[in-house]
Amino acid sequence: MSCGVLAITEQVDGVFRKVTYEALSEGRRIADGLGCALSVAVLGSGIKSNAETLGKYGAEKIFVADDPELKEYMTDTYTNVIAGIAAKEKPRMIILGASFRGKELAARLAARLDAPIAMDCIAVRLEGGKVIATRPVYGGKILADVELEGEPQIVAIRPNFMAIAESQKAGTVEDAAIDKGKIDLKFIEKKLETGKVELTEADVIVSGGRGMGGADFSIVEKLAEVLGGAVGASRSAVDEGWRPHSDQVGQTGKVVSPNLYIACGISGAIQHLAGMSSSKVIVAVNKDPEAPIFAKADFGIVGNLFDVVPLITEEIKKAKGL
């Protein structure tokens, strides 16, 4: 059985996304448990100097694939290059973030390497030398413990879930062989909203539901703003056309786990609860004291959200000295 854990980084315009450090930290923890080394693959363009910093998060070796054609994530080139590194290094485990691109890359890589895969994991543990990953299924209504047989074991971790831990290691940089293979995909453009906090990565989410009564989410947006959080929505609010699909929290939308989730005018349909129950602290504001959301909320306020939510915003501003 081979040893070694290989982490895969994720960068946008040369800057590592937070999930990179989460994957490295978790990879370090597992590598220590297995008595293995941790290496990391960095793909991008002009990325080398940033790559050198990753020793801080526990990487012994840093394989850098620096190439103008790797500037943007493309599933085909990235799969080809990483499969090449994996073929050479023969890691026991490959760990990466289950971001949008991470999920796609992990799936394609698993098929390429004929490798077992645990997608969107919230915990990884070792039992008698075996790796057991826990992953939510049915939108979080159930958790599955998954055992991976064969190598490399691909573990994609849910963003915003694993702790980041620094652990200085050698961080020796090596140029990786870059075999981009057959290229079928072409990058055209990207449109990123600057400053927008992504729901799946947000520490705080303020969501609105049917109780919002219309597309005016300004009171929810203001509360999210003072908390530095993101705005979410229930399926009914999205189905009504009040919010974009990308805001939807729930089993058919995004499954989220922020530190603080504030549900405004959301009754708590089971498919919504499945998507947010793993939040650390849940606050519900609803005028119906019988709303199912209160059974899941740590703190509830029964009242008219149009009165209560602006008051919360003001009170938090005061508390934060804003």
């Binding site: 493309m74 599933t75 799969t79 289950a98 949008f100 691109r101 999920k103 796609e104 992990a106 799936a107 394609r108 098929a111 390429r112 004929d114 895969i117 645990a118 997608m119 299924v137 939108g139 979080g140 209504k141 159930i142 958790l143 599955a144 998954v146 047989e149 064969g150 079928d184 995909l185 072409k186 990058f187 055209i188 453009e189 990207k190 449109k191 990123l192 909203e193 990308s246 729930g250 089993q251 058919t252 939308g253 530190n259 089971i270 129950s277 650390k280 606050v283 059974a295 899941k296 909320a297 740590d298 703190f299 509830g300 029964v302 009165d307 209560v308 919360i312 009170e315 938090i316 508390a319």
Partner: protein, 260 residues
């Protein structure tokens, strides 16, 4: 244009699901079984492409006898033909095994585009679509919110954290769906009547030339299921006025929960 849709039948998201006493299986009970919502988007997109370009839409599914209903729903929406792989040997497949079965079916068919859901809302695996593309050695684009086909190429807008990326691919290709791609149509009554007469073949693994070796071993195994920690309903904050309640809430969030 020859279009293939990969479809799975799943318990509706409104339903309660539980686990067996020994934690070895999921209990779906009498949950309503429906077409995976992301696969509905796939059927709709295929139908739109057929309407614009001609051709046919074939739905392929791996499942039990009951999955026939889900395929019929797709046929009632307007798809032309269904293929169900129903074989006891395929009961406990992991994502790669399911993908190998689907790829084996597709290999013998002409196709320009395969459309799959980004994930099924039961196992939330996100693996099968991309893996089918890999086994067919064709490009794939996941999480597509918009696509246009011209000059033998498909251009897709796909979801990424904080925005969208536009990617172009050669055809044939496989794409997976993201909410926002379209609004799936309902099956009309005449559509439902017509669907009953549309071809729906049920096949075993040997019919598609796949044996146990071809399907590969099950490498990803669920060893147990558990329920997430039950959230205890917390307290409803009382107070004379809304302002009192809010003050108490913010204090609790700061001092008790320490999240602000």
């Amino acid at each position: 244009m020859e279009l293939i849709v990969l479809l799975k039948q799943v318990p509706s998201t409104e339903s309660f699901v539980g686990i067996s006493e020994d934690g070895k299986s999921v209990k779906v009970g009498d949950a309503k079984m429906v077409v995976n919502p992301y696969d509905e988007l796939a059927v709709e997109e295929a139908l739109k492409l057929k309407e614009a370009n001609g051709g046919s839409v074939t739905i392929i599914s791996v499942g039990s006898d009951k999955a026939v209903e889900a395929i019929r729903t797709g046929l009632a929406m307007g798809a032309d033909k269904g293929i169900l792989i129903n074989d006891p040997a395929a009961n406990n497949c992991d994502g790669l095994q399911t993908a190998r079965i689907l790829a084996a079916v597709i290999k013998s068919m002409p196709y320009d585009l395969i459309i799959a859901g980004q994930r099924a809302v039961d196992d939330d695996n996100y693996v099968v679509g991309s893996a089918v593309a890999e086994f067919l050695n064709i490009p794939s684009i996941a999480m597509v919110t918009k696509e246009t086909i011209a000059d033998g190429k498909i251009t897709c807008e796909k979801t990424v954290e904080g925005g969208t990326v536009t990617v172009e691919s050669t055809l044939p290709a496989l794409i997976t769906t993201q909410r926002g791609l379209n609004e799936p149509r309902y099956a009309s009554l005449p559509g439902i009547m017509k669907a009953k007469k549309k071809p729906l073949e049920t096949k075993k693994l040997q019919d598609i030339g796949l044996d146990a070796a071809g399907m590969g071993s099950q490498k990803t195994k669920v060893i147990s299921f558990k329920l997430p920690p039950e959230r205890k309903g917390g307290k409803i904050i009382s107070g004379e006025t809304d302002a009192d309640k809010v003050k108490a809430l913010v204090k609790a969030l700061q001092e008790e929960a320490k999240v602000i």
